[in-house]
Amino acid sequence: MKNNVLIIGGGPAGIEASAQLQRLGYNVILIEKGSSLGGHLSKWDRLFPDGVHADGVLSSMLKNMSGVKSFTDTQVKSINRLDKSYNVILSNGISVLADAVLLASGFTLFRAEKKEEYGYGIYDHVITNADLEAYFSIGSDSRIDKPKKIGFVHCVGSRDEKAGCRACSKVCCATAVKQACEMKEEFPDAEVYCFYMDLRMFGRHYEDLYLKAQKEYGVRFIRGRVAEVSENADGSLQVKAEDTFSSKPLKVTLDLLVLMAGMRPSDAGRRVGDLLGMSVEEDGFFAVRDSVTSNQRSPLPGVFLAGTATGPKTLPETIADARGASMEIDRYLTDVFPQASDYKKLIREKW
């Protein structure tokens, strides 16, 4: 028999997992609260480190999942555990008897306006990394007007306890450097500054990207967190930071400031989590069974996790995570469903 697997969240993790599980022969149902699949990936223009186009990546991923039953504009209404499976009622009226549930609810971008001193939504020329990606794909943004001096602020809503997030969001450094280069291409005679605390260029080719930004694009990297932004009479921005290498306060006038908003747990995900009574860790992301060997298992039997639902990840990591989750689910279903006799024991001991 074909087991039903419900995947909640139609971002990269959900899409990848559904493709994998379908190939393994399960009956996959994918739901997405938004009106289209792809999550944040669909809003991104190009991806670090080598600048491949996001839409290309997405469409190829979607091709792999053709045939999966997916419902957009759909959320979980209620979910309760039967003996082995979960009975899920969706907002579109359909109810699903899922033998396994994969929670791929992803993340939401940190609301940059919460860092009041940066004046997002108050000053005319302060935007976020997401806004900039939109600008790259659409090609226009009233806030971007032939800037001569551009600043990138790393760690906005990351590594910031006042903003309620101590953790590093992992992708902002590379994104900032990528976007800095792209802006240099767009506006070659602009000065571009990156304000960072630590440059976390941990991934393969990331350091090359950094070197390129310095050598070819002449991006200036300043080690110091931007402390305060204010607006001059002419609408340009006055930005204050410390150049911690010189141990001196620093001031610079900018025409555009880009805030690298970090990753926060998605509210929709939290909603489903609450319905299931799933625990979250201090950082607000879902807790996993153990952080080394079973990153994709939730404390609940039959409920699995993939992607940034369990904390910031890069796209390749998310995809790998989704594949891992698919394998876990496969193992779980093949384990649990054939011999139902000692099911409780099995769950206790193994799942």
């Binding site: 939504g121 108050i122 204010s230 001059n232």
Partner: protein, 354 residues
């Protein structure tokens, strides 16, 4: 500048301000340099707004300035504060209103310390009993006098005789607001509008018809710095910071600066004089300075008090240009007159400032 953005922030930082029955505590500096401000404040709250605001002669300084000059230990100020609280309780009040921002910050800090370390609060309780045979209760509401004026800004506007509008041009006056550092920088939630875009003074300006100007160094300290002013050798620091602020606001051509901290108006007023005297630089129109007033003074002007009753003559920077703009009548002859027109001479007029 996107106004709606600011409104959102403001709406996030609203604080409960009680309607009536306040225990009033004075400010050392405000009393010394702007005595009329506190007089006016009490007059407005009592007589114009009909509120019950009580003051006891037994209350003292909170010791804040001494504390921030590091001359007395933290527990000393904590005990003094406890004593003030005790006086409040003794007189049956629970809404604590202080006139000084340093005090306000200190009260907030103390309350916070006690919240985090209850054992410390207990210890202070003992010390207070040991020394003064007094027992204290923490206030239900801790507010700054400017919070109160902010709360009643619209009532005041309703009674307004004048508005913050240039009667000649009909345009709103450009007003710069300066918030005392200790008002909300330490505890953003304790201040109306928070730490980044405090609304307490902006609210008044808007209610009274002025236009606020936001300039790059708005948040910057006036430079008082306690020891940085009291010791002559350090005053360069104090002066330089005010200078920095004025250089930053100059391009916006403000008509008026309104402050809610007792020290700031003194410094921003006097340092303009020093800058003019030593560099010839002035920031107001044709060689005048920019008037720096307390919120009480501004409220007073709006409600039609006589400028000289408000003590505007005790500022080094002339307020006449502002009064003219607002269309306020005044008798130049009476400016420096004593009570009942008594002649007590007049100060030498500095040549550097008009």
């Amino acid at each position: 500048m996107i106004y709606e953005g600011k409104q959102k922030v403001w709406s996030d930082y609203q604080k409960d301000i009680p309607d009536d029955h306040y225990f009033y505590v004075r400010s050392c500096i405000r009393q010394s340099f702007f005595p009329a401000s506190e007089v006016t404040f009490l007059d407005i709250t009592r007589n114009r707004l009909g509120k019950d605001i009580f003051e006891t002669e037994h209350h003292t300084t909170c010791g804040g300035i001494a504390y921030h000059s590091d001359t007395i230990p933290q527990e000393t100020v904590m005990t003094i504060i406890a004593r003030q609280f005790a006086l409040m309780a003794k007189n049956g009040y629970e809404n604590y209103v202080c006139s000084c921002i340093t005090s306000f910050g200190l009260y907030c800090e103390t309350m916070e310390t006690w919240r985090e370390f209850p054992e410390e609060e207990a210890r202070i309780k003992d010390i207070l009993w040991k020394t003064c045979k007094l027992d204290f209760a923490k206030p239900k509401y801790l507010i700054h006098a400017s919070d109160l004026v902010y709360k009643y800004r619209n009532l005041i506007a309703a009674q307004a005789k004048h508005k913050l509008i240039n009667v000649k041009t009909g345009k709103p006056l450009k007003v710069v607001e300066h918030i005392g550092c200790h008002y909300s920088k330490m505890f953003p939630s304790k201040g109306v509008g928070g730490a980044e875009y405090p609304y307490v003074l902006v609210g008044m300006i808007e209610a009274w018809g002025g236009e606020i100007v936001d300039y790059p160094e708005r948040r910057h300290c006036c430079g008082f710095g306690f020891r940085q002013y009291f010791i002559k050798g350090n005053r360069g620091y104090s002066l330089s910071n005010t200078y920095k602020k004025f250089e930053s606001m100059e391009p916006f051509h403000p008509d008026l600066i309104i402050t809610n901290c007792p020290g700031c108006p003194y410094f921003m007023d006097r340092w303009q004089y020093v800058i003019a005297e030593s560099t010839g630089r002035t920031y107001g129109e044709e060689g005048h300075g920019i008037p720096v007033l307390t919120y009480e003074e501004v409220a007073g002007l709006v409600m039609g008090y006589d400028p000289w009753d408000l003590g505007l003559q005790t500022h080094q920077i002339d307020s006449e240009p502002l009064l003219d703009k607002m269309g306020i009548e005044y008798d130049p002859a009476q400016k420096y007159a004593g009570k009942n027109g008594k002649d007590i001479g007049s100060p030498i007029c500095p040549t550097c400032l008009k």
